[in-house]
Amino acid sequence: MTNSAADPVLSVADLRVTFGERTEAVRGMSLSVARGETHCIVGESGCGKSVTSLAVMNLLPRGAARSAGHIRFHGRDLMGLSEREMARLRGDKIAMIFQEPMTSLNPAYTIGSQMAEVFERHRRAGRRAAMDRAAELLARVGVTAPGMRLGQYPHQLSGGLRQRVMIAMALMCDPELLIADEPTTALDVTVQAQILRLLQKLQQELGLALLLITHDLGVVARMAQRVSVMYAGQVVESGPAAAVFAAPTHPYTRGLLACIPVPGTVRRDEPLGSIPGMVPRIAPGFIGCGFRDRCGSAMPECAGAVPLRDAGGGHTHLCRLLPDATRAPGA
């Protein structure tokens, strides 16, 4: 199954991000996203999923350093680009949506002027044309009375509306890669479903490559074609979403799935499954499995090098355990 890797829009190999000498936030992350594909990175806070996306965009905070085999966008390695060249791509061919639309929108400017700025800058368009484009995209993402909304300030909009504005803004310059970091986490369920449907529809219509970062396995299950489960800076399990959810192979993925309350399966007065302990802080040079302190299947050998196992069909996991022998063939 190499067809998705044939001509990926984004391809990342062996990405590492360190924060000084004490923390290695991303430890050898590889992934690729094809045109029209949704690839989800899922994991708990601190696992390195957001840092991965910031590293791709070269937006890491001061004090962080990245290295990688390559970070290719349409075959062009972003690692060698100057800040100026990178700035030309951001908001243009590569767009990003963040979790908190309230903090990523500037409270002092109207929706219209923030949306127009992107277009004016990348397309050298006049204010009039940029405002027309903004109104058109607001309508496209389901905002009613777009003309009126352009004159409003972020605080005057509901959370769902703000996130629609963020999506519309991201689409101003027809991006090919959209990186969405927890785009619906701050929203209510009906709004979340609407925003995700919208993202899915836009992605199909525009052929976007979507890298979706989330902590929510429900969102992953319903949106992803491919999923990468991250833990302590590494992808511990990766594969087609259907295969990963049908037969999760890494103990961490299994633990996460047991933690989720699912309506209709609640057993009253029985505690939910939970993973004891917390995500460790990992320093550069850390050896062994990052999950071993929390893992029910941990053995002394887990402190050594961890093998990457292949369950077939592009489904891999990083663990000494072999893929479950009971897995249905072809699943």
Binding site: Q192, A193, M223, A246, P263, S274
Partner: protein
């Protein structure tokens, strides 16, 4: 019989300006809410942003005065009650343990503050109570000397719970207590809250946008829409046979980790509810997929059916040609 908490016809209006020089308009955030709970009950309150659930929480906690109506705890009205006395009856756990704990104080001082404010205990007894409570929520005496920034999100929420319970209140108002946490940590906190309720006979008002979480912890569920409870029922009934079309839409929006199901179309259209402009008749009718002509004129007020509250005309006078919706037929 005296209820642990009784909320009678609670209203709250806000004055809002549209824009800097816009017209003043009044927003009915809580529009006639009535319910009562017995000791040990957990009322889950669910609804979209702007539905008034957090305003309801603030009214009940006495952080906001109601425009009219009253809240009684153990038969005594909270209106005009001394703050210290109210604090002994009712305590909050907020969503964000990053902003609800004073970053400059040590954990043991944060948890001791409610006791210190009461001024009833010697410092020695107070310290004992604090350590006992911290131990109960799983915070070690070593961690008690630290400051919030040195703790993880889950640990901070444990501290917030300890602070709420140190006065042994009757009612705990939990406003999105696990929304800022990772799933594995969320499961730990939910299990802890459930244990504490059983042990201490607590009554919770549990506000959440996450229906799966509410199903897990609540005994009774109230669904709020534009300031009103539109459906209230025991948790099993509400999840098994949701009667109100809005409840049905909410349940349909829950994204369980089942990849084959895709993103549901909740059928609500893209109109957002505006608390400053509440529709005539049934306030849900502009978004309701089952609305009929009468819904725009007649307000379905306080309709009770089989031990549940359903503010929907379908429950009393369904349109002639329509077949009864499953779940509305008497069992």
């Amino acid at each position: 019989m005296t209820h642990a908490i009784e909320v009678r016809n609670l209203y709250r209006e806000f004055q809002q300006r549209a824009g800097m020089a816009g017209e003043r308009r009044s927003v009915r955030a809580v529009d006639g809410v009535t319910f009562s709970l017995s000791a040990g009950d957990v009322l889950g309150v669910v609804g979209e942003s702007g539905c008034g659930k957090s305003t309801l929480a603030r009214l009940i906690m006495g952080l906001l005065p109601p425009s009219s109506g009253e809240v009684l705890v153990d038969g005594r009205s909270l209106a005009g009650m001394d703050r210290r006395e109210r604090a002994r009856l009712i305590q909050p756990v907020f969503q964000d343990p990053f902003s609800s704990l004073n970053p400059r104080q040590r954990i043991r001082d944060i948890v001791g503050l409610p006791l210190a404010a009461q001024g009833a205990l010697s410092s020695r007894l107070q310290a004992d109570r604090v350590m006992e409570m911290l131990a109960r929520v799983g915070i070690s005496s070593e961690m008690a000397e630290r400051r919030p920034a040195q703790l993880s999100g889950g640990q901070r929420q444990r501290v917030a719970i300890a602070r709420a319970l140190v006065l042994r209140p009757r009612i705990v108002v939990c406003d999105e207590p696990t929304s800022a946490l990772d799933v594995s940590v969320q499961a730990q906190i939910l299990n802890l809250l459930a244990e504490l309720r059983r042990e201490l006979g607590l009554t919770y008002l549990f506000i959440s946008h996450n229906l799966a979480v509410v199903e897990h912890i609540a005994t009774e569920v109230a669904v709020m829409y534009l300031g009103r409870i539109v459906e209230q029922a025991p948790v099993e009934d509400l999840f098994r046979t949701p009667a109100h079309p809005y409840t049905q839409a909410l349940l349909a929006s829950v994204l369980t980790p089942e990849p084959a199901l895709g993103i549901p179309d909740v059928g609500l259209g893209d109109a957002y509810p505006d608390p400053a402009n509440i529709p005539s008749g049934c306030r849900f009718h502009p978004r309701c997929p089952q609305a009929f002509d009468k819904c725009a004129q007649t307000m379905p007020d306080n309709i009770r059916q089989d031990g549940r509250l359903v503010e929907c005309l379908l429950a009393v006078s369904p349109p002639a040609k329509r077949e009864a919706t499953p779940g509305l037929a008497p069992a």
